[in-house]
């Protein structure tokens, strides 16, 4: 218990990753397959990339104390815009990418402004913008549209060894965001705003900026996920975001990665661990050919159980003055 309580939640996330890995090796091995073969590693990593992008952004949004439920629609919109503009012309790749990212960022900006300016709860603000975009998609797109050129599709289909290019791009983005989060003022201010907005304001931080920035980056990441999907699918699709259930799944991955849902504390590295846990569990269940209905049961239970493990540790502990850790303190009624 003592050693356990000294670990940071990121450590625990990666302990769970390790545990899942071991379980995967055993279970997949029992099914007569290899969990660590190139093909399987590639499959697991592919499973991390789309959700990875979105979870990176979602981490920021959750860190500043908000939420983003609009990501699935941003993903779909980005895939449609890019595929539509590219129209199978290699020359249009850049404009397609640029337009998709620009529009995504625009949606993020709206989210951020509604949250920070109008003080609307992130849940409602992004549920609202999500619905708005969803209505636009349903009205203007009847099914998949556009086509991405082969050069662009390679992004979704090739790999360096067992590592898909898409995963590398996702990790590069994670690296950039991690740098932003830990090494720039903006990143520090995100933590501050999520931790205690009053303290942040008193310390001279323009509290709107980190919130808006987090939402913009989140939507940008969702836009990138949309681009990646357009590359993998070869077309844009108005339902691809909703198909993946990326809104709730990304929030779950972030929390699974040890980030506090109420903001201010957490790590991007943990989130990547959370995404990896999901990807490995999905992979294991697919190899074992688990009934698809039961897959959801397993996912649901894993989310709750894993978060319960961190949550138990998070009960704020004060340096004890006396005693020998005799009893677990009865804090259930009081810590709110």
């Amino acid at each position: 218990m003592n050693a356990f309580s000294r670990l940071t939640s990121t450590h625990i996330v990666y302990l769970v990753v390790l545990l899942t890995f071991v379980a995967g090796t055993v279970l997949v091995g029992a099914a007569g397959r290899s969990f660590v073969s190139a093909g399987n590693i590639s499959a697991v990593l592919t499973g991390t990339s789309v959700l990875g992008f979105i979870a990176i952004g979602q981490t920021l949004v959750i860190l500043v104390g908000s939420l983003d439920l609009s990501v699935p629609y941003v993903v779909s919109l980005a895939s449609l815009l890019s595929a539509g503009i590219m129209a199978n012309q290699p020359g249009n790749i850049l404009p397609g990418v640029a337009a998709a990212l620009l529009v995504s960022a625009g949606i993020g900006l709206v989210n951020g402004l509604v949250v920070s300016g109008l003080k609307v709860h992130g849940f409602i603000a992004t549920l609202g913008t999500g619905l708005i975009v969803s209505g636009y998609l349903a009205t203007n797109y009847k099914g998949s549209a556009g086509q991405t050129p082969v050069a662009f599709r390679l992004v979704g289909a090739t790999g360096i060894g067992p590592v898909p290019v898409s995963t590398l791009i996702m990790l590069a983005c994670a690296g950039a965001v991690l740098l932003m989060l830990t090494r720039t003022r903006l990143g520090h201010h995100m933590y501050a705003v999520g931790g205690d907005i009053r303290v942040a304001r008193m310390s001279g931080i323009q509290t709107g900026t980190p919130i808006v920035a987090a939402h913009v980056i989140c939507s940008l990441m969702a836009g990138l996920a949309g681009l990646l999907l357009a590359a993998r699918l070869g077309v844009g699709s108005p339902t691809i975001g909703a198909q993946g259930g990326y809104d709730l799944l990304s929030i779950a991955a972030v929390v699974l990665g040890g980030t506090l849902l109420s903001g201010g504390k957490g790590s991007l590295v943990g989130t990547l661990g959370g995404v990896l846990i999901f990807a490995m569990i999905d992979n294991i269940m697919s190899v074992m050919q688990i009934n698809p209905f039961l897959k959801d049961v397993v996912r649901g239970i894993v989310i709750v159980v894993a978060v319960a493990v961190y949550a138990r540790r998070r009960v704020a502990r004060r340096a004890t003055r006396f005693g020998h850790h005799e009893h677990v303190r009865n804090e259930q009624e009081v810590s709110a």
Partner: protein, 392 residues
């Protein structure tokens, strides 16, 4: 699925009836409602409704319309073969019923030593997952053959092409893809045929100027859009006033729509692009105390039962559920080196009022979500497996 004005249809799609897609239109779509309408395809399916099918009429799942055949001698094998099945999902009763049937068919072929095992990955309705599933099979599956039921047409095309490149037989069924690289593409006649059967029935039983409410599930799914494209055209030509709604297949929504419609005026007919919510629609008329409409539904047991109970004028168009058997049977022929149709068009015949009693009797005790033309009566698990809906 595709907005034709933007997309480059892969060259093969143009090549006539071998086209592997259900919506292989080539003309740029005009703005507006009929962008899904394709006259050539419509005409072809119109013909196919009355075409003669090769094979044993007792086993409609093995029947096909005579056409181009694919030689498969290269795939002939003596040993039991391993099959990899990439399934879009089992998220609706139609797919669940078919999936049960497929597994029973599998058992037969395993017993007869044709297939050693079938490894299945279920994409849970996600294109991206299904692409990954197919790639996994290619890399890790050790598959001797692929069966793919694509989640969507355009998006799965590249993945199916990659499967084809392995040189193993690839069988695509239900929805198509935009390539004809697959060894065979199995599907019932198609959406236009559904639309023609159902709309013509309404037209025959209604008068000009009558009102039809069209209940559609979702926009943008090619199979469903073609059903409506055909029906809408026929309604227009025959002076039937039709209003269409998207319901998400949610019976609550259907009831709301019908009761709102009944509140504003009489409704003489109901057209559905899938039978899921037919019962709810009928009940809405009952609740409002209105006369039963002329109905179209589907061969789902709930509708057939309600249809019989109420005695209304109706028809049950069929999107042949027995097609879930065919991919495995196709592989049986492939592994035997027999030639098979390049595009395996299965019969798709509506159930009419006089056939209804027979189907009800045959499917006695099946759950409401069961499909009458599931075609598994001769399989070993019949009837418990379907009755108890045992999903592997």
């Amino acid at each position: 699925t595709t907005d034709q004005s933007i997309e480059n249809p892969p060259a093969a799609t143009e090549g006539g009836e071998a086209a592997a897609t259900e919506e292989a239109g080539a003309t740029p779509a005009p703005e507006g409602g009929d962008e899904w309408f394709d006259q050539a395809e419509y005409d072809q399916q119109f013909e196919q409704r009355s075409a003669s099918f090769e094979g044993d009429p007792e086993q409609p799942w093995t029947q096909y319309i005579d056409g181009e055949m694919t030689a498969t001698a290269e795939f002939a094998a003596d040993e039991p073969q391993k099959v990899c099945f990439s399934n879009a999902s089992i998220s609706n009763p139609w797919r669940q019923t078919g999936w049960i049937t497929m597994n029973e068919q599998l058992k037969v072929l395993q017993d007869s030593g044709v297939i050693s095992e079938m490894e299945t990955r279920d994409a849970q309705d996600d294109d991206n997952t299904q692409i990954a599933d197919i790639d996994y099979f290619i890399a890790e599956g050790g598959c001797d053959a692929f069966i793919i039921s694509p989640n969507s047409t355009a998006a799965l095309t590249p993945a199916v092409e990659r499967a084809c490149e392995t040189g193993k037989p690839v069988v695509v069924f239900d929805r198509g893809v935009e390539t004809d690289c697959a060894t065979t593409f199995i599907h019932p006649i198609g959406g236009f045929a559904w639309g023609i059967d159902s709309a013509n029935f309404l037209v025959d039983n209604l008068q000009e100027g009558d009102k039809v409410v069209a209940l559609r599930i979702l926009p943008g799914v090619d199979v469903l859009e073609q059903r409506w494209a055909a029906a809408e055209k026929i309604f227009e030509e025959n002076g039937i006033e039709a209003t269409d709604y998207f319901t998400g297949a949610d019976p609550t929504e259907i009831k709301k729509i019908i009761s709102d419609e009944l509140a504003t005026g009489d409704v003489q007919g109901v057209w559905m692009d899938a039978g899921d919510g037919a019962v709810a629609a009928i009940e809405a008329f009952e609740d409002a105390g209105a006369d039963y409409p002329v109905m179209t539904g589907e061969d789902e047991m709930s509708y057939l039962r309600k249809w019989e109970d109420t005695g209304l004028t109706g028809i049950a168009p069929v999107y042949s559920n027995f097609q879930w058997r065919t991919p495995l049977l196709a592989l049986e022929r492939i592994f035997a080196g027999e030639e098979i149709p390049a595009e395996w068009v299965l019969p798709q015949e509506p159930i009419t009022e006089d056939q209804r009693a027979g189907y009800l009797a045959d499917n006695e005790g099946m759950p409401d979500g069961h499909y009458a033309k599931f075609g598994g009566e001769d399989l070993p698990g019949y009837p418990e497996v379907w009755r108890e809906r045992i999903i592997p």
